[in-house]
Structures are given as C-alpha cells and as structure tokens.
Symmetry: C2
Subunit: 456 residues, 2 copies
C-alpha cells in the first residue's frame, strides 16, 4: 500500500511536470530577457567604461580581460582565450581637412582617415579634385586626368533599398578599393563620401585595403553634407583644391585574443553551437552597436540559458571575435583552431548588424537544414522576429562555412544602422534597452531550438 502511494505520487509528479513545449521555452527565455535582463547594464560598462577598442589598442586589451571576467563571474563552465596576432593601426592625433580656393573661399571639413590608410604626414597634401561616382568613370578619365589629383568618390548609398545593407553593399567598394584604383592612375590622395544614408556633418571611417604593387596613397572620409557641398562647388569651379593632413599609420602587429565562454554539453559535449560578435570596434564613438551589442547579446544568451537551468545537449559558446573591422584575424583563427582541434561545429550565429529590434535571421545552410529551421518560424511570430532569409550569417563566422557549419545571422531592423556605423554617432545613448534584450532572447531561442532538435 505504501508502495502504491509512492508510485502514485511519482506518477503525479511526472504528470504535473511535463517536458515543456518549444512555445513555453521561448516564452520563458523572452520573459527572462525582458524582466531580468542584464545586457543593457553590461553594454553600458563596455561602452562607457572601456569605450572604443580598435585591434591592438589598450582598450581592446581591457575589453578582452573584462569580458573574460564577466563570463567567469556568470559561472560558465570554461572561459578561455585564443591568442591571435592582429594589425595595429593608429589614427594619429591630428586630422585636418579643407576645401580651398573655392568660390566660397576656404572651408574646414570634418575628415576621418579610413582604417588601414597611411597618413599624409606633416604638411598634408593639397591638390585639385576629380569627382567620380564609380570605377568606370575613374578609368574613363584615365591617368591624364587623374595624375597628381585627389580623387573624390561620391556615389551615395541608394535610399530605395529597404534593407540598408544592400545600399551599403552597392557603395562600399569606393571606400575599400578606391585608393588603390585611384593610385594606379597616379592620384595622390582619396576623399570618399561617408557610407551613410543620413544627411549630416559626421564622417564615417571603415576599412580600406591597399592592392599589392600599387603605391599607397592616403584616404579619408568626409560627411555626406560636405560631400554634397564639395560636389556642388566643383560643378561651378573644378579648379578648387582640397587639403588634408592625417597621421595614421600601421604599427607592428600585436598579440590579442578571441574570448570564449563555454557551457559544456550534456549529451554531445564535443559538438558545438556558438554565438558571437566582434569585440573590436572602430576608434570613434564607443562601438555600442558595432559590435558591443553582438558580444553582450551572446554572453546574455548563454547567461539566460544557464539561469533557466536548461540542460543543453551540445556545448554552447559565446565568442568575442577580435579584429573583425580591419583584418578578420579572430574569425580566421577560430575556424583554424576548430579544425585543428576536431571541434565539430553544428551551427554558428553572429549578431553584427547593431542592437536594433530583431526582425528574424539570415542563414547559410543546406536545403534540409533550412527546412528544419524554417519550421520554427512560427515560434518567432509572437516575437515579431519571423523573417527568415537565406544567405549571410556574419563575417567572423564565415570561415567556419568551409567546415559545413550552418551559419546564422541575427537580422535586426536596418533603418538606423548606417546613421551611426563606424562614426562618432555610435554611442551607448543610441541603444534601446528592450531592442537589445529582444536580440539576446532571439539568439538564446535559436540556440535552444538547434540544441533540442539538431541539424543534419
């Protein structure tokens, strides 16, 4: 009789504590993120107390140590560093730009050296300006018109794209390759319209790269307002000149780190699901959206899964990649070590489109896995995060693609991103607490679903 009562009691317990449905688990994850979220305070510390953190800078080192300590404090099972050599580019203290000899006389212009660019050195450079919209126009002008000039790349981002990343993709080659394309024709410097849809006075930096065997010439960005002004002044008088002085330079490489926090899996500890962002940022603003948000959301996603006491099958990692902005060394190193250490990576997520309201996910995977993941779309409908797009994922996780890892990108709304991207506008006051938290919840939910249901 006693045994029967005990049995009934056991059965009763089992009955009242059934396995929770995916719907219920996602609701628990979202509630935790919105009611007891810690991402906002974490990001406030990273942004305000550490600040911007370009690869090789003391702040980047501080960010490595701080995120390591945060993940240890949260009690993740393992927290470790992956050493990686990174470029060490510095902006230098003085940046000066001027339109000179124009019909309005001399006008100071805010400039911002492009990342990886050489500087002009003291005295700066001054020359006539040739405005082009694209490389075809540049080539058509030829060295006869370009030699000894400053080339002004002024193709705006197309505002009619709804996803502003498409507009960025259509304009960014001016910034990346403009200097070497112009230098091949004898130009002595390059001025690039900022990659933004905003009409303001703030220049936006970002990586440029020198082609091999082409003379290196200095490159700077100017604001969209100044680009429009310069263009209209040139239309009246193409003899005007532009002056700029920068002292940026590439120093010897330095040792830095990816920072990794892991919660070890219960059933398949040697299979990994990772989520990350990049810890480095440009050396303007404080890198709150690009990509403090993605790092903190990744830590927060693991914290939430741990706090909810969810027994995970796979090992889960939050990865702070180093050096996305001007080298991608961290992302490459991570994939290299995953291969070397035989760590099977089922899926890798990245949040690197700002901490804005999440609209869904992008994904690079097989048709079969896309079908599996798409079957979860309705689970994200209550959270209005059910746009599932094929392609993409994130720059840092892309190298894992060669290991057949499913790549997933958090897909936040893109309308505000390029207003602040790579500029002094990217500061913590532009972060909305709920939007940031909803991103962390979306990431944690996607990890939970992949962990529970697996991929092929």
């Amino acid at each position: 009789m006693k045994f029967l009562i005990l049995l009934l009691a056991v059965l009763f317990v089992v009955q009242v504590a059934p396995a929770q449905s995916d719907e219920e688990m996602l609701k628990r994850i979202y509630d935790k993120a919105l009611e007891k979220g810690e991402s906002y305070e974490m990001l406030e510390f990273l942004s305000k107390e550490i600040g911007h953190r370009l690869s090789g800078s003391p702040q980047a080192a501080a960010a490595v140590e701080w995120t390591r300590q945060v993940m240890i404090a949260y009690g993740f099972d393992t927290v470790f560093l992956q050493p990686v050599m990174v470029p060490h580019w510095v902006r230098g203290e003085v940046e000066t730009g001027k339109i000179v000899k124009s019909k309005i006389g001399t006008k100071d212009v805010n400039i911002c050296a492009l990342g990886n660019s050489i500087g002009t050195g003291s005295g700066g450079i001054r020359a006539r300006v040739v405005e082009v919209k694209n490389f075809e126009e540049l080539e058509a002008l030829g060295s006869r018109n370009i030699a000894d000039k400053i080339v002004f790349f002024n193709r705006p981002m197309d505002p009619t794209f709804i996803d502003t990343f498409s507009a960025y993709g259509g304009a960014v080659n001016q910034r990346g390759q403009g200097a070497s394309r112009a230098a091949q024709l004898g130009a002595i410097g390059v001025v690039v319209r900022s990659m933004t849809l905003a009409n303001d006075d703030v220049p936006h930096t970002g990586a440029m790269n020198y082609a091999p065997d082409v003379p290196k010439i200095p490159a700077v960005a100017i604001s969209t307002k100044d680009a429009d002004l310069l263009s209209s002044l040139l239309a009246d008088d193409n003899n005007l000149e532009f002056f700029f002085e920068t002292h940026s330079e590439m120093l010897p490489e330095v040792l830095s780190y990816n920072v990794i926090g892991e919660i070890t899996g219960n059933k398949k500890p040697d299979e990994y699901l990772i989520t990350g962002g990049h810890l480095d940022s440009w050396d303007v603003g404080d890198g709150s959206h690009d990509d403090g948000a993605g790092c903190i959301q990744s830590i927060e996603a693991l914290r939430i899964l741990k706090e909810l006491g969810i027994k995970l099958n796979h090992s889960i990692r939050a990865v702070m990649f180093m050096n996305e902005e001007n080298g991608l060394r961290g992302g490459r190193k991570y994939a290299e070590l995953a291969l070397k250490n035989n760590e099977k990576h089922i899926a890798a997520m990245e949040s690197d489109r700002g901490g804005f309201i999440p609209r869904g996910f992008t994904m690079t995977t097989t048709d079969t896995n896309y079908e599996t993941i798409s079957s979860w779309m309705s689970l994200f409908e209550p959270y209005q995060a059910n746009i599932f797009l094929r392609g993409g994922g994130g720059a840092d996780i892309r190298p894992l693609g060669a290991q057949n890892t499913t790549l997933i990108g958090l897909y936040p709304d893109s309308q505000r991103y390029f207003d602040l991207h790579h500029s002094a506008n990217d500061t913590f006051d532009k972060i909305n607490k709920r939007e940031l938290e909803l991103g962390a919840a979306a990431i944690a939910s996607m990890i939970y679903l992949i962990d529970t249901h697996g991929l092929k």
Copy 2:
C-alpha cells in the same frame, strides 16, 4: 499604309505602357517617399518652430494655420477647417514635488501634473502616502486607511508583453481613474508611477478624468526611478510624507479646428478614404512622435499620390484631428459632420503610435473586407510591413466606426514608444528620417490599394 503604321504605333505605345501592377505602384510610392520625401523637413518645422501644442494653446492655433498653409501649398484640391470647441487645460508655471521626513531626509522629485487635473494651489498639499498596485488593493484598504492620505499608484507596465501597447493598456487605468477612485475613499491627492518601461528620471503626463459627483483631488506623475525609490523608502517607513504643489486648471473651452486637405476623386468623389493623426500634443517635449508624425505622414501620403499623378477614384483626405489627448472632440466632430453631410466614408486610417519603423496595420472591419485587405499582405512583404492584425485603428477615427467605415491603424514597432510618450523626451531628435518616410509610404500604399480595389 500610313494608317497602318499609325495603328501599329498606337498599339506599340499601348503595349509598352500597360496599366501598372500593384507591385509596381507600391515600388513607385516607396521610392518617392525614400528618395524625395518631404515628411522629415515638415515634421522638423512643426516640432521645432511650433513645438508642443495642447488643445487651446497658441501653438495649437499656429499648428492649425501652418498645416492648412502646407496643404494649400501642395495644391490639394480643397483645404478647409472644421470648427470644434475644445477643453483648455493649462499646467501652470510651478510644479514642485518632494519626499519629506523619509530616512534619507527630504528629496526633490520631478513631478508632472496629469492632464485635466486640478492644481493644489499655493502652499501645495502634504500628507502620508499609501502605496497600492491596483484598485482592488485600494478598496481593501478602505477609507479608514486612505482618508487624508496621498495615494501612490505604483503598478509598473509589464515588460514581458512584446507589443508595449498591451503593457500600457494593463497599467493606464491608474492614471485615468486613480484620482476619483482614491477621492471616493477620502484621499487628498494622487501620485502615479509614469506609464513607461524606461527606467529614468522623466515623469510622463497623460489624461485623467474626474468621475461625476466625486470630489476632485490633484494628481501628478513621478518618474519610474522616483517611484521605485518612494516605494523602497515606504517599505522602511510608512510615516514618510509626500509634498506637491501644482497650479494646473481647466479654463473655459475655446474654438479650435480639425484641418482637412482633400484630393477629390475622379469616379466616386462623394466617397471618402481618409488618413489622419492628431494635431494636438501634450505640453511637454514637442510632440514629434505623438502625434506630429501621424499628421505629417498623412499629408505626405497625399502629396506622394498627387506627385505620382495617380488618378484616384475616391476622394482622399488628410485629416489633422484636434484634441485627441484630452477630449477627443475633433474625432467626434469629424464623424458627426460626415454623417450630417452624407459623406460616405469607405475607410479611415490613423497613424498615432509614433513615427517608428512600420511593421504593418491593425484593422477593424468585416470578415469580407479583412479578407480583401489580407490579400494585399504579400505586397507589403518586400517592405517588411506585413503584420496585419484585427482590431484597433485609432482613437480619432473610432467614432466613424458607427458609420460602418473600415478603420485601419498604421502599426509601427512599439519598443521605443513609451520611452518618450507624453514626456519631455518626445522631441524631434528621436525621429529617424527613414522610419518616418516608410510610414508615409505604407499609408499611401494602403490608400492606393483601397482606392483601386475598393471594399464592400
């Protein structure tokens, strides 16, 4: 032979200029809004040059005249005013709040009289404080505990709702009815936690109403941070007192206006499709999101349809409703005149949830019309504005519901709205140009589709 060539030429012309598909028309509307939009500059003027504009204020009169002139300048076929008497509540110059006799001594607190509230008059009121979360707690305490006290309504908005309007709906009765509920039990004043999910120092106003035959007592809002502080101090010492002084008062009603711009229909000029917002705002901030955005988007929607040279079947109106915030007189007057003048209103839209990224539409209509409208959902998918929800529409258009008008609300993302709603935070710098423009495009697109395909 000449005739044949002519005929072929005509056929060719007809062939290359077919009627444009809905997809093409929406693309043209969105392109116009994003490339050559004028909403941002319009709203900048309304917000910065006119500023906040509570019913009865000089600024409200200025806003009436300015929007009238703007719509005349855009060449709308008819622009006219609808006279309407509105309440004229004024805040008074001095607002002072203090926690007194607490364990931290005296602390100044930012307060903000609730709209329509009487003031305390000179000298203010000072009393012990009773904190409650809801009316049930209040009733349970009864007049024995409430008489001669200040009642502190401190139920937070629930952060776990994804649509923050649901969280607002779950908390706002404290603000609307709290004073009369407390006065019935003998309270002498009311302090209400601000209706916001943000954790900051800014109090949020908003309408309250006195129940008939209940003594009128003054009511103020305090910030969420101060509400949390007051609550924790009360937990230690329920003898502490709160002091506040306000000089708000209701003056005699004044004459104001709805402002209406119309583009007359080509086929059914006596059938109307309208889109609107409310022109009045609270007397804090500058009313950019609530609801300058909705007014300007409505004007912009008509401007876009006109500029694109679209021949509209029905008469289309942009309506700036007066007095949504503390009386709804404009919305009621509009419906009353529509009935009196036999103006058949097929559909009425309102944008009154801020100028944020549009996610879709809400609608109150018949099953048949919901089916028709839902069949257009995929047209909004490229613009990521394809959440179509039943119910709602907007406070100003609700009175038209009795005339079987389909009511539609623009449904922007709600995450940031209550951070600024009814507070000093609602200023133009919180407006994102593209988000505002996308809202105008969504409205113009919906009008176009209803005009083209009709409703039952």
